[in-house]
């Protein structure tokens, strides 16, 4: 019979010896059996420990010594099944004579591969260290940005205060008069018309977008029509769309010699529509497209004032109001203040009517204020972002505890697979761009690192996966998503793209950011490694 210790891992060898009376106790202590029952190809122990060398216990493991290579452990179900396992290059898992000892060649191949991997990692780690240096630099830069930003923000806040003050005063003076004018039935009606027109335009645009989206959907349906659905309704929809859009039937496309690859060649089958006869003054489609927007952008307040001007006698053009042009810039604000005070007083007495300039001035002041406020908001947003970046830069859930991923923030990688070019901008968005026309689809935006709950945050394995979620929804399917499988490599590059199930993409990406420096001791203890 075979050696009783066959299949026993070196660390457990001492436990495989008979006790007095030739007994042996299962390693879990559950049972005492006779020593001859060890490795007798019958499972006695619940934990499988009595059969390290056979397949009798479903839950035991077999240790192959693999002399000349690295020892390894295989599950019991691979023992004595007639197959020569690569993991058991010494063939000890099978009956003698079944498998040759291939440890020499397998060991050599393994070492060659391991050395190449180490070399790669070593070089990659150098690049990685530059990423880390970059992160430190970036941190400093951000700190500076933050500092200077604080000052700028303070300044800008003051400026906004000042402008606000001016704008409000300007408005308060002119507001009452303007309000009065605005009560004009004509103005009210124009505003109503304008609003109606705007609403119509908005609705129209919505419909146009809907129509286009529907067209796109139907085009996709027509081209991608998957007869799997074997669905006559789908076929009818395709045919209906083709009739409406004047397209040839997709089933017929390419049937003739004039085969057009890819997008079904659009044959103009519809006759030129007879030009519509328009009533006098009615706008054509082209007019609508070109002229509606400018029309709607009309400054109705100015118009109102112009209108006033038009219907009233030009007498109100008083010298007083022309004075402005003669006032030096330096004292202009004071002058304005004075003027406003006087005019409002005159107005109250009914001596003069509010001037159109005043209203115009007030909207100008408002504009300046808005610009200043926008600038302030931009500054604040920049600061927020810089703060976030600062927080993320050495965050294990952000750019890594060493900041090694900061360098890759926003870096876009592309791969052309023939029909499509796939792109992922790291920590940004992944896209599918058709190479032969059609729409680009979002495959999702960066969502997280490795979502597997079992993988500790910040562990090397944590950084081997990224998820991009909530991309464009698939027709009749889920939203598109990407899982990035990252591994150490000298270049930041997409290696492969597969769609294992509909709209679930898996990109494999290499990056030096994952080339961890070799453990200096690693070289020495290779002999203890297990496969």
């Amino acid at each position: 019979s075979r050696d009783k210790t066959i299949g026993v891992a070196p660390g457990l060898l001492s436990k495989y010896a008979p006790s007095s009376g030739d007994k042996w106790t299962c390693l879990d202590g559950s049972k005492q059996i006779s020593w001859k029952a060890v490795n007798d190809d019958y499972c006695d122990c619940k934990d499988g420990s009595d059969e390290p060398g056979t397949s009798a216990c479903a839950n035991s493991t077999f240790y192959c010594r693999n002399d000349g290579h690295i020892g390894s452990t295989i599950p019991a179900w691979q023992v004595n099944d007639g197959l020569c396992e690569a993991a058991c290059c010494d063939g000890s898992d099978e009956l003698p004579g079944v498998c040759p000892n291939r440890c020499k060649e397998i060991g050599e191949a393994y070492r060659t591969k391991r050395d190449a991997e180490r070399k790669l990692r070593k070089t990659g780690a150098k690049i990685r260290s530059t990423y880390i240096a970059y992160a430190h630099k970036e941190k400093k830069r951000l700190e500076l940005v933050l500092q200077s930003n604080v000052q700028e923000i303070a300044l800008q806040e003051k400026e906004v205060e000042r402008l606000k003050d001016i704008a409000e005063r300007t408005e308060s003076i002119s507001a009452a008069a303007l309000e009065h004018k605005k009560e004009s039935p004509l103005y009210q009606s124009i505003i109503k018309h304008s609003n109606a027109l705007k609403s119509l335009q908005r609705e129209h645009k919505k419909h146009l977008e809907r129509e286009k989206a529907l067209g796109d959907i139907l085009d996709a349906l027509r081209k991608g029509y998957n007869p799997n659905y074997q669905d006559m309704a789908v076929l009818e929809a395709v045919r209906g769309w083709e009739y409406l859009a004047g397209l040839p039937h997709i089933n017929d496309v390419g049937k003739e010699d004039s085969e057009a690859e890819g997008d079904g060649e659009v044959k103009e089958v519809t006759e030129e529509p007879v030009a519509e006869v328009l009533e006098d003054g009615m706008w054509s489609e082209e007019d609508l497209e070109k002229n509606l927007d400018p029309l709607l952008n009309t400054d109705y307040v100015s118009l109102l004032l112009e209108h006033d001007e038009h219907v009233q006698t030009p007498a109100s053009e008083s010298v007083l109001f022309d004075l402005a042009s003669y006032i030096p810039d330096s004292i202009y604000p004071q002058y304005e203040e004075l003027k406003d005070a006087v005019i409002s007083w005159l107005e109250k007495l009914g001596i003069v009517k509010p001037s159109p300039d005043a209203a115009a001035d007030s909207s100008k002041a408002r504009q300046v204020l808005t610009d200043a406020e926008n600038k302030l908001n931009d500054l604040k947003r920049d600061q927020e972002r810089a703060k976030e970046d600062m927080e993320d830069i050495f965050n294990p859930e952000g750019f890594g505890s060493e900041g090694e991923w900061k360098k890759l923030d926003g870096m876009c990688l592309e791969k052309d697979t023939g029909e499509y070019t796939y792109e992922v901008c790291l920590f940004g968005e992944a896209k599918q761009k058709p190479n032969h026309g059609g729409s680009t689809f979002s495959l999702g935006k960066f969502k997280s690192w490795n979502p597997d709950q079992d993988v500790p945050v910040g562990s090397p394995e944590f950084y081997t996966k990224q998820t991009y979620k909530h991309g464009t929804r698939c027709w009749n399917g889920p939203e598109r998503n990407v899982i990035l499988e990252l591994s150490c490599g000298l270049e930041n590059a997409i290696q492969s793209i597969i769609e294992l199930e509909k709209c679930e993409y898996q990109f494999t990406v290499t990056t030096p950011a994952l080339c961890l420096p070799l453990d200096p001791e690693n070289g020495k203890d290779a002999g203890r490694e297990e496969l």
Binding site: D40, D41, Y42, D44, S55, A56, A58, P75, A76, W77, Q78, N80, D81, G82, L83, P227, N228, Y229, Q230, D231, M232, A233, L235, N251, K255, G418, N476, G477, I498, E499, L500, E501, K502, E504
Partner: protein, 952 residues
């Protein structure tokens, strides 16, 4: 389902006519069949039990029909009727495809000719009698004096003769309702035959459905026949329908379904889980059953057929068969037991083929594994998780533009390497090949088919029919054309052909084939199939052969695989479409089911019903083809699948990946255990398959087959036995179940397979409640059975060949048990040369001892040992037996032993170690866990005779 894609009876002209005929008969105060035998034309064969006669119809005195009635040696009565010298010819070749050979007509039985009828007695004790009444024509099969089967008892027999279409004279307006009156002299008068045929020529010459028009060049030629079972209340069979095993009624008092059962092979998208609608396959055979006897009907007709079912009384069943074309060719199978009917039907159409052993393992499929690396990764994941699997499948996307055989080069750049990587672990691949060929000249398969002129033709009879399928514009091979046969077989050769013709060099013998879409499915055709007026070989219309079409495809593929290797390896061919006889070529599955509990449940019934019709090797897609099953459902479906003859997981392209290793815990561990359970039970499955290949008894046996006299079991279709193993399965198909109710039909002890809990049945039948939490599959061993298993987990079944056996002995009330085991090489046909072992195990308890024996069974019954041949003798020391003589019994588990034994030893050999767990005895009245004796490693060879003595 898109119901409007498929016809109801009222949308099919001939079915409408058939049902109208039946309702006229029902409403008439008196009704007599117009058909009778012309006495002057009777000819009785002098050397065999066969007679022919002309049948005339009072409706059309000038039209003649030929009747041919034969008594086969096994008591089956065949009744054929065809029009004689008609204007055209009815299709009469359906039987030539379905039958294995021309059945032997009895020479010993004799007809006795009377004035009003023919009679013949036959059977043991002459207790069967067949009576053919002349006027009106009626055929009755009796047992004792009880009517078993009555043909045309209700006078619905009608064979529409061929007639000429009346050409309408131009400018002469015809009054409504006068169309098609036969005799110009009687125009405007009442149609004399209207009492029978109806007033109108309803859809005689043309018929539209949706946007399709069926041109019906031959005019009306439908066939109606009523077949009654005055003493049988239950009928089973006529698959494939998603409904109960005991078929619900379709006419009469409050029928469950409004439409008749339809047999018309169709690709039904998202089919309904309870419906008489036709599905992918059609087998026109049914069993009529009562506690007294079982009889069967097989109607060999390949055209669309509708079958109405009703019960005039609670003891009887009436069926009405309405076919679109073809001849009457009915086989009356007298039984009288279910086993007899199975044997009788098997002698006609053959038994299921013995599958390769590996085909009984687990099959992993998905639409689609997208690349050769994907296949490798899936294989790796199975291995890492210790989940056994035997076959990886590739659906249509492996092929370039759906040109089958042609690998898509970007994703499958190295197909042979991939196949070899799978085969390196003893596994196989199954690759899909569909019958539609993409119409592009650079596709060699299409090109060669086109050049040979073996494609189905359009109604003009010229050129190639063109339809739409996966591959876009496609044509279909006409397998009715013998010119297609050798060519098709040559395509599968994995090497270069000497002829220079194309062959699949990018494949190996480890690749087997999946034939899908062979109804045939045509996306832009009527009812997603071919126009009925398409033309096949010899000018037959598609309507004549539609239901047979799918079978020929899998038949030829089977032959192709058989011929590609020398010595031949057993092919595996999965087909979606099938007909009577398809069991000879491989496995089927229940098509594109949905991931719902209803579909899981009805799938079990469908597999049982298909087994009744000979298609034992079947299963439903584990997980459901459409949809994303939640983990609980997936686990239950694995339990269902593991207990089905064909065990395959499959998923639609739009579904999430759901390979079992992707499951979270605890589901993953549960499914791993189920997969391993399937593998431990492979000896049981294989032994059950051996039996069906010889006897035709189904692998899955419903209650009425097991206990024909137990009325309580006639409607039971949610539990079944596996072969004669004694294993009783009750799959759980209910969400959230924690227990299940199981019906025990007999006064016998049953043991829970896993816990050894004892359940005792009753002679009157008894329902028991058993635990059925998610990890628990209700599986029982019937007392009196010995079950052989191999309990070492492996990666694939082919790696288990040298693994030892465990025998599980379930003692019956009397303390005895027996069981069978069949083993051969599992791959070749060497078993037909006697290379196998067929063992029987016995256990018998006396007062002082329990004897356990292994005996050779083959030597005593060589002629019914294996399929395909009747061996004259058997050599127990054959080469195969020698090759496994080292394979031992490693464990014997005895269930139901009430007391601790004194000793255990091999007769004439060593004393054995054993362990005893106290518990109840098989003959106790008590419930509880059984007393269990485990005998450790008797080390007796599985191939040898031996005896073990347990001293009590």
């Amino acid at each position: 389902v898109k119901s409007h894609d498929f016809k109801t009876c009222s949308q099919a002209g001939f079915c409408r006519r058939g049902r109208a005929l039946a309702s006229r008969a029902k409403e008439a105060s008196s009704w007599t069949s117009p058909y009778s035998i012309d006495l002057s034309t009777i000819e009785v064969a002098h050397d065999s039990a066969k007679f022919t006669a002309q049948v005339k119809s009072s409706l059309y005195p000038d039209v003649k029909f030929g009747l041919d009635v034969r008594l086969h040696t096994d008591g089956v009565v065949r009744v054929r009727m065809d029009e004689i010298n008609g204007l055209k010819k009815r299709y009469d070749e359906a039987a030539s495809w379905a039958l294995i050979s021309e059945p032997e007509v009895s020479k010993s039985m004799k007809w006795s000719v009377g004035k009003t009828e023919f009679k013949a007695k036959f059977g043991e004790g002459q207790d069967f009698e067949i009576v053919v009444q002349f006027n009106p024509l009626k055929i009755v099969l009796l047992k004792g004096s009880k009517e078993q089967i009555v043909l045309n008892g209700q006078g619905l027999l009608h064979m529409e003769h061929f007639r000429s279409k009346k050409v309408e004279v131009e400018g002469e307006p015809k009054p409504e309702g006068s169309e098609g009156v036969e005799d110009a002299q009687t125009v405007i008068q009442v149609k004399p035959n209207a009492w029978f045929e109806g007033e109108d020529e309803d859809a005689y010459w043309e018929e539209t459905f949706g946007s399709w028009t069926d041109s019906k060049p031959k005019g009306p030629e439908s066939l109606s026949v009523d077949i009654s079972f005055p003493n049988h209340a239950n009928i089973y069979g006529i698959p494939q329908h998603a409904t109960r095993l005991s078929l619900p009624s379709t006419t009469g008092e409050s029928p469950q379904f409004e439409d008749p059962y339809r047999l018309y092979n169709t690709d039904v998208f998202e089919y309904i889980a309870s419906s008489p609608m036709s599905l992918y396959g059609s087998i026109p055979i049914l069993h009529a059953h009562s506690a007294e006897s079982t009889v069967g009907i097989f109607h060999s007709v390949g055209s669309e057929t509708w079958i109405d079912v009703s019960h005039a009384t609670d003891k009887s069943t009436e069926t009405h068969w309405i076919s679109e074309s073809g001849i009457l060719d009915v086989f009356l199978m007298p039984g009288p037991t279910p086993a007899d009917v199975f044997a009788q039907y098997s002698r006609l159409t053959g038994t299921p083929v013995l599958p390769a052993h590996w085909a009984l393992g687990y099959h992993q499929c998905r639409w689609n594994y997208i690349s050769s690396d994907d296949v490798r990764t899936v294989q790796k994941r199975f291995d890492e998780e210790g989940m056994p699997v035997d076959v990886f499948w590739l659906d249509i996307e492996y092929s370039q533009d759906h040109k089958y055989f042609m690998w898509e080069p970007k994703n499958f750049p190295d197909p042979v390497d991939m196949i070899n990587d799978v085969a390196a672990t003893g596994r196989h691949m199954v690759v899909i090949v569909d019958p539609h060929l993409k119409r592009v000249s650079e596709y060699p398969v299409y090109k060669e088919a086109s050049e040979r002129g073996v494609l189905v033709k359009p109604k003009s009879g010229e050129g190639e029919y063109e339809g739409w399928c996966w591959s876009g514009s496609s044509s279909w091979i006409d397998f009715f054309n013998p010119g297609a046969w050798d060519w098709w077989k040559s395509l599968f050769k994995p090497y270069q052909l000497a002829s220079g013709g194309w062959s699949w060099t990018q494949s190996t013998e480890a690749v087997h084939i999946w034939n899908d879409m062979n109804e045939p499915s045509v996306f832009n055709g009527p009812e997603i199939s071919m126009p009925r007026d398409n033309v096949h070989h010899n000018g037959w219309e598609h309507r004549d052969v539609h239901n047979i079409n799918g079978m020929l495809f899998s038949n030829l593929t089977y032959q192709a695989l058989l011929e590609r290797s020398d010595p031949p390896q057993r092919p595996f061919v999965l087909t979606r479409s099938f007909f009577a006889g398809s069991q000879r070529f491989g496995a089927m599955w229940t098509g594109d089911n949905l991931g719902t509990w209803e579909h899981m449940e009805v799938g079990v019934k469908m597999v049982l019903a298909n087994g009744i019709a000979g298609m034992s090797f079947g299963g439903s897609d584990v997980g459901g083809f459409f949809g994303n099953p939640e983990p609980e459902m997936l686990v239950r479906w694995y339990q269902v699948g593991a207990m089905a003859p064909f065990f395959r997981a499959h998923a639609h392209i739009d579904t999430k990946r759901r390979e079992p290793y992707l499951l979270d815990q605890p589901y993953k561990d549960i499914v791993r255990d189920i997969l391993r359970l399937r593998y431990t039970m492979l000896p049981v499955w294989y032994t059950a398959f051996r039996e069906t290949t010889v006897t035709g008894l189904p692998v899955l046996r419903p209650h009425y087959v097991m206990f024909p006299e137990d009325k309580n079991g006639f409607d039971v279709d949610d539990q079944y036995y596996i072969g004669s193993s004694g294993l009783l399965v009750k799959p759980v198909t209910e969400k959230g179940a924690t227990e299940a109710s199981v019906y025990l039909a007999e006064d016998q002890v049953y043991y829970d397979y896993f816990s050894h809990q004892v359940y005792r049945g009753s002679a009157k039948g008894k329902n028991i409640t058993v635990p059925a939490a998610l990890h628990q599959l209700p599986l029982f061993i019937r007392g009196g059975s010995i079950v052989s298993t191999r309990e070492r987990p492996r990666r694939a079944s082919t790696l288990m060949k040298r693994d030892p056996f465990t025998l599980r002995i379930a003692l019956d009330k009397k303390g005895s048990a027996r069981g069978e085991l069949y083993v051969d090489d599992g791959e070749t046909y060497s078993h037909r040369n006697g290379e196998f072992i067929w063992r029987q195990f016995f256990a018998d308890k006396g007062k002082k001892e329990l004897r356990i024996l292994s005996k050779d069974l083959a030597a005593s019954r060589p002629s019914d040992a294996v399929d395909g041949v009747a061996l004259k003798s058997f050599n127990p020391a054959n080469e195969f037996a020698k090759s496994i003589s080292g394979v031992r019994v490693e464990r014997i588990v005895v269930l139901g032993l009430g007391s601790k034994p004194k000793s255990v030893k091999v007769e004439g050999g060593q004393t054995l170690e054993w362990e005893y767990t106290p518990g109840v005895a098989s003959n106790d009245k008590k419930d509880g866990a059984a007393g269990v004796l485990v005998i450790k490693d008797p080390a007796t060879s599985i191939a040898n005779n031996w005896e073990i003595l347990v001293q009590l």
